[in-house]
Amino acid sequence: MLHIIQQILRTGIKTEAPPQVNDALRNEVQQINEKILHHVGRALAIRHVDAGSCNGCELEIHCLNNPYYNIEGLGIHFVASPRHADMLLVTGPVSRHMEIALRRTYDATPDPKLVIAIGDCGCDGGVFGESYASCGKISNVIRVDITVPGCPPTPTAILQGILTAVSKGK
């Protein structure tokens, strides 16, 4: 225990300031009214859904939990069920084998809900495109509020997308 405490003290606080909101990431007119956003923005529950990604975007989503980004410090946390979630963080492309699972996850998430499409594949199908096995971008299957491009997008970009989703739109 002493070693653990020593190590924690030696490491210090690594957390950095969060990024600013970026309105360019918005996909459509904000659905949730400002009053709800005010509450959601301080205690946001996110369910992540991998709808067929290469696992690259997942690596960066994992990083959001590291001390540099300290997403829980902003009141944002990942939950184990869509029924507990305010927001879905979806990576893609949506494989046809995941199409039903993604729709069901979306339906199981209580309204009002937000959806963020993560990564180039989630935004436009990316290198996998549309085919016999792939539905392409996330918005081909469910409604999307925010798109965060990148291959994979950095944790800062993903965090910016999340914070933009819970901020007041134009």
Partner: protein, 515 residues
């Protein structure tokens, strides 16, 4: 035909790795597989290609590894009622690969065996085989229900837990069917294929240059391993020799990828036994290294840095010093954390004797890569078949025999130490010169093999050349093909709450096997 005749009878491919290729008949295929099995060799990959346009037949390809190197055997299979000899009795890992060949190409193993579908769910009907040349990759079908039969377990007090495809954590999708009594697991059956996005079909017709980007996204956590294997395959059939500096930088990237993944896994393994301190600490180290990667090479995960012919980025002296400093830090911090993990009673209580795969079972099932080495399977291509730069570095392979979560954790600590040693040597000896060579021309119909020891295990890329330096057929093979079925054994008699821990200690790829 005998195995020792193989290297004289068949041509050695002009590859960075020792690979021989030859066409055999069904009887010879069985006989050679039996001999490899008896000699302690293993099956690496099994795939099929559609050669009906050229020879009016299909072809089955089997890659085996034994002492001299890799043997790739090609069996031509008749157009009508295409069948090939079942190899799953010799190599249990062949089972899912054969079912994949049946789904995707319509070639079936002869005789009994397992004829259930594997990669196909409900997106296309059973009579359609997407990898046949006659199939248009853009066709779509009405989605049917996936009527997959799980093996039922019956008895007093047995019940099932169905998990996934959408999991509770931030991980890839797959379905796990547990049959349990109380907390104890009697049987686990995996159902994968959810992330099947048509990668192999997508490759067809791409130029060698275009294919590199897709190869780097077969499994995002192994992007360096895949792009290097892809580059090896292309360079083999185009008779291209990359400049020495490029080869050494590739080695550097591969070891950086190993470090990143091992650091991340050690963090999560701590987290899974309620030591969130471990997660924070290891993920600080991982983030530091990711930032150095971004600064020096332009990408946090080194995607698209390796291309056919060479690499796309260089390392200058300032970068070299920065990287050395980062290594010193990782080495120092990891040694402190290793001590803390070792001395922590709660952690060791969860790690030890959990998810055991004994060495004899590992050998029988063909457990490979890092997990294999934790169960006494001493295979590491960097040591046994070293290509440049490994041939000058004397890579020390780590192995353990306990085969439990603790062994797989120790493996990661030891491989981190070895990777740091290798990177230091690479930085010292990095040759000067160009970064990329121009590609030659590939002969239509030729086969190129890429074979790289990624952080998870051996990655194989088989490239069948088409016209004008384009891809006719490409099969990427992830070591997870071998290891997923062994996970089903590792969990037997363990308790359900230990599954996430055992699963993490293997950390297998979904996208890499779903293709």
């Amino acid at each position: 035909m005998k195995l020792d005749e193989f290297t004289t009878l068949f041509p050695k491919l002009p590859a960075a790795m020792p690979v021989w290729h030859g066409t055999v008949n069904a009887k010879e295929l069985r006989a050679l597989c039996e001999e490899v099995r008896q000699g302690g060799g293993k099956l690496v990959a099994l795939w099929a290609s559609d050669e009906t346009e050229r020879t009016s037949q299909y072809a089955l390809h089997v890659a085996l590894v034994s002492a001299p190197g890799m043997l790739v055997l090609t069996l031509l299979v008749k157009n009508k009622k295409p069948a090939f000899p079942d190899l799953s009795d010799l190599f249990p890992a062949a089972d899912r690969m054969q079912r994949c060949v049946a789904d995707m190409m319509g070639l079936h193993p002869a005789g009994g065996g397992n004829h259930r579908k594997w990669l196909r769910h409900a997106a296309w009907p059973s009579e359609v085989h997407p990898l046949r040349k006659s199939f248009d990759g853009n066709s779509t079908f009405p989605t049917d229900s996936d009527d997959y039969l799980f093996v039922p377990v019956t008895g007093n007090g047995v019940h099932e837990i169905a998990v996934g495809p959408v999991h509770a954590g931030i991980i890839e999708p797959g379905h796990f069917r547990f049959s349990i009594v109380g907390e104890r697991v009697l049987k686990l059956e995996e159902r994968l294929g959810y992330t099947h996005k048509g990668i192999e079909k997508r490759f067809e017709g791409m130029t060698f240059q275009q294919g590199a980007k897709l190869a780097g996204r077969v499994s995002g956590d192994s992007t360096v391993g895949y792009t290097w294997a892809y580059a090896q395959a292309v360079e083999s059939i185009t008779h291209t020799t990359p400049p020495p500096r490029a080869l050494w930088l590739r080695g550097l990237f591969l070891e950086l990828e190993r470090l990143l993944n091992h650091l991340g896994d050690l963090g999560y393994l701590g987290n899974d036994v309620a030591l969130s301190f471990g997660f924070s600490q290891f993920w600080i180290l991982k983030e530091n290294l990711l930032r150095v990667n971004a600064e020096l090479f332009g990408h946090r995960y080194l995607m698209d840095r390796i291309v056919p012919g060479g690499v796309t980025c260089d390392l200058n002296n300032t970068g070299l010093l920065g990287l050395s400093e980062m290594l010193r830090n990782i080495e120092h911090e990891t040694s402190i954390l290793h001590h803390i993990y070792d001395e922590h009673a709660g952690v060791q209580d969860r790690f030890l004797f959990t998810g055991v795969v004994a060495p004899d079972l590992a050998a029988q099932l063909g457990l490979t890569g890092l997990a294999g080495r934790a169960s006494g399977q001493a295979w590491d291509a960097r040591t046994q078949f070293p290509c440049t730069p490994y041939d000058e570095l004397d890579v020390q392979m780590a192995t353990h025999r306990n085969g439990d979560v603790a062994a797989r954790v120790i493996m990661r600590f030891e491989e981190i130490a070895e990777s740091i040693r290798l990177i230091r040597l690479m930085l010292e000896q990095l040759p000067v010169g160009d970064l990329i060579s121009e590609l030659g021309c590939a002969e239509e119909g030729s086969l190129g093999i890429g074979w790289v020891e990624g952080w998870r295990g051996e990655i194989l890329l088989a490239l069948h050349a088409g016209k004008d330096n384009c891809i006719y057929r490409l099969h990427p093979h992830d070591p997870s093909w071998q290891n997923w079925p062994v996970l089903e054994h590792a969990i037997i008699n363990n308790i359900v709450p230990d599954f996430p821990l055992i699963n993490k200690s293997f950390n297998l790829s979904y996208s890499g096997v779903d293709l």
